[in-house]
């Protein structure tokens, strides 16, 4: 088993600013009164000395109460945030699906957005073209694919976003509660697709609040609690641990 994600003693905190001036005018007025007031700050620790490895081909469910740092963790692993302490190593291309349809351009057609979105995920025109047919087929959008995205329903946007990210060749996929959008049938289709990717050897990390999803699909479960990794192991026990957090 080869680790594709390594988090080593990772800590992350955010600065909360109180009364920070947001205009140059205000700073200047404060200066004329002879004081440099940049507001009060306080640190809020989200993750505290967290370490774990994720191996190639694992299907990891991440659970925890709201605000415990699940999304922050995915952002750290994707490279959107950098850790205060510790380090994160990843190998292989990551498709972070933190929000489906992030990066779409309203005025462009669905077809044009496929290329733009694939580019954001790091794929050039030629490599996107190879997958184009599969991407479009999966969305079930039919001729709507040639219409501007601004005319799409939110469900259609989600279908397109999901389809693009999962049909490209990214080795590691992150899903942040994206399965709760779309209708029942498309949700099922998405879950089937994710499981298919897992069977094909991709590494999947899924943030979810559903113990059933963890029990049914995941090979491993991480539960976060108070900034620490509270549980790491078997999905059944992980789901139970999560339910017991109360």
């Amino acid at each position: 088993m080869r680790p594709v994600i390594q988090a080593i003693n990772v800590s992350k905190s955010f600065t909360n600013w109180m009364d920070r001036p947001h205009s140059i005018k205000k700073v200047l007025i404060n200066l004329t009164k002879g004081k440099l007031d940049i507001g009060q700050k306080s640190r809020v620790t989200i993750l505290d000395n967290v370490s774990f490895n994720i191996n190639e081909g694992e299907f990891v469910g991440i659970m925890g109460k709201n605000g415990v740092g699940k999304s922050t963790l995915l952002k750290l692993l994707s490279g959107i945030y950098s850790p205060d302490k510790g380090m994160i190593r990843t190998s292989g291309r990551i498709a972070p699906l933190l929000e489906l349809g992030a990066g779409f351009s309203d005025e462009l057609t669905g077809y044009e957005n496929i290329f733009l979105n694939a580019a954001i995920l790091g794929y050039g025109r030629a490599r996107t073209k190879e997958k184009l047919k599969q991407i479009i087929e999966f969305t079930e959008l039919g001729d709507h694919i040639y219409k501007p995205i601004r005319n799409y329903s939110s469900g259609m946007v989600v279908r397109l976003g999901f389809s693009i990210a999962t049909h490209l060749e990214s080795q590691i996929l992150f899903f942040d509660e994206v399965l709760s959008v779309g209708d029942l049938w498309f949700q099922q289709k998405c879950i089937d697709k994710i499981r298919e990717l897992h069977r094909a050897g991709r590494t999947v990390v899924l943030v979810t609040h559903s113990p059933d999803q963890v029990r049914n699909f995941c090979t491993r479960c991480l539960v976060f609690n108070n900034g620490k990794l509270g549980f790491d192991g078997n999905p059944d026990e992980g789901a139970k641990y999560y339910e017991g957090l109360g």
Binding site: F14, T15, H22, S23, I24, K25, V27, K75, S78, G79, I80, Y81, S82, P96, L98, E99, A102, G103, S105, E107, L108, E112, F115, L116, A118, A119, I120, G122, Y123, G124, R125
Partner: protein, 263 residues
């Protein structure tokens, strides 16, 4: 060597070259989708202001500059590029904050795409300048080719300054109002609608203290007068753009990733 390769990676967003390509393509597509109309639209703004300055300074103020229309258009078109680039530089980081929070992108990727788009639009507008030069009987000199290096350095300057403005804008949201005033002031402190020679000797410094001063003087020198570009002017322009490019580089490698958390 390491520094040079890191510099080009971050300055030109090489990690996101596909994104830049598609964003520029999108911008141009949206602008020119209605074909001819898009082009007319993008020329109308600077073209119209060119004609207004022409009327005001030639017939009201009665400025004594021969073939003033060509003089003023050759200044106003690049100035339009400067204001567009700086304005979109200011907006691009804050305007795309949701994306920066969802996808690991370099902070300058949208700024670069917008600036390339503005540069393409400027190059598209140059034939219009040729047209009016031709109509008014202004002879084109081979020295006009010096416009290319001048515009290239101008691009480096506005791209870097725009990025820095975008970072400051994250913290100070009134920068937008301050900038529109500063741009207005800069317009009149830059030799765009008047010649550098017309400035009284004791005030000539403003051309050199203003980063854009020598650029617009040089544009007039090579296009309107047909003179060769002086080494002196080249040195000053290169220094201004290099200075801001370096500031850009140190800011973007130093602080910029943290800014996503403040957005």
């Amino acid at each position: 060597m390491m520094f040079v390769s890191n510099f080009f990676r971050s300055f030109l967003c090489l990690d996101h070259k596909f994104v830049v390509f598609h964003l520029v393509l999108r911008n141009l597509k949206l602008k020119y989708r209605r074909s001819l109309f898009g082009i007319v639209w993008s020329l109308l703004g600077p073209g119209l202001s060119g004609f207004v300055y022409y009327f005001v300074f030639k017939y009201v103020v009665k400025m004594d500059i021969e073939n003033y229309l060509v003089f003023v258009l050759s200044g106003v078109l690049p100035w339009g590029f400067v204001t567009n680039s700086l304005t979109s530089g200011l907006e691009t980081i804050v305007g795309n904050h949701t994306l920066f929070n969802k996808i690991p992108l370099r902070l300058n990727v949208f700024n670069l795409s917008e600036n390339v788009t503005h540069l393409v639009n400027l190059l598209v507008s140059i034939p219009v300048l040729f047209f009016f030069s031709f109509v008014t009987g202004h002879s084109l000199s081979i020295n006009s080719l010096y416009l290319l290096p001048i515009l290239f350095m101008l691009f480096l300057l506005t791209y870097s300054v725009g990025f820095l403005l975008g970072i400051v804008f994250v913290y100070f949201r009134d920068l937008r109002h301050i900038m529109s005033i500063v741009l207005q002031v800069l317009f009149y402190l830059t030799p765009i609608v008047y010649k550098t020679d017309m400035i009284p000797e004791q005030f000539k410094m403003i051309v050199y203290l203003n980063p854009f001063g020598v650029f617009f003087d040089s544009i007039h020198q090579v296009y309107y007068y047909g003179n060769a570009l002086s080494l002196n002017a080249l040195g000053i322009m290169a220094s201004w753009s290099l200075f801001f490019v370096l500031v850009f580089h140190f800011v973007s490698t130093g602080v910029s990733r943290r800014i996503v958390e403040d957005l």
